[in-house]
Amino acid sequence: MHKLIDAALGIHPQAIEAGARRLELLAGNMANADTPGFKARDIDFRATMQSLLDGPTGATATLRRTEAGHQDAPGTSLAAEPLYRVPNHPALDGNTVDTQLEQTAFAEASVRYQASLDFLDARIQGLRKALRGD
């Protein structure tokens, strides 16, 4: 039953989750627009969605601890890891946040998020209609 509903909802729930994660990352960039030495990061959305589609069988990398000092790292997909932005013109204090770029990225990500919400909503309406039979 669960699988049936999951299949009916399609990829949209995952898209919403990935979108929220990207928005969070962009918010972190914006908050640190004036922090010396801060490096802006972003998610490769296409790669993230691809890794979600591939599921746990996709290309994932797990880190192994070989030294006592190594930190624990959960097995995560490489594609979902945030990457560092290549700055157009880095500031003298080492900050790579481009406010305009981050703002447009945030606007884009929020529109994508809204689109995913609409798609999911439409799927739910469809399911409802099918269940009611009217």
């Binding site: 918010a27 972190g28 914006m30 309406q125």
Partner: protein, 135 residues
Amino acid sequence: MSLFKIFDVAGSALSAQSVRLNTIASNLANAEGVSSTAEGAYRARHPVFAAVLDAAGRAEGVRVVGVVEDARAPRPEHMPGHPLADENGYVWFSTVNPIEEMADMMSAESTYRNNVEMIDTVRQLMLRTLQIGRR
């Protein structure tokens, strides 16, 4: 839900920027302050920001790690008639540069505004998320 976290992230930026605006205000208020000794002259104060990172190295916000005083020397001026002048007739002016402070204020203001806009957008997104399947 991770959208909730954005409120914390943007909120930390708002409070950091308001600390910055506060120090700018006190710098400007003391810009014309004079003293009879170099040590007593007002030195401009500036907050130092640092990113708050989670275990995975993602930014969870920003915080003010401290407020540093200007390292520049106060400017002496020969004003024998000034009530605060020392025995040689000198008074010391603060290290505040009003133009620098105004530029700093504009930067703080725009970052503050960006973060407010971000909170507004996220609030709308969250409300819409709560409306899924309600129609």
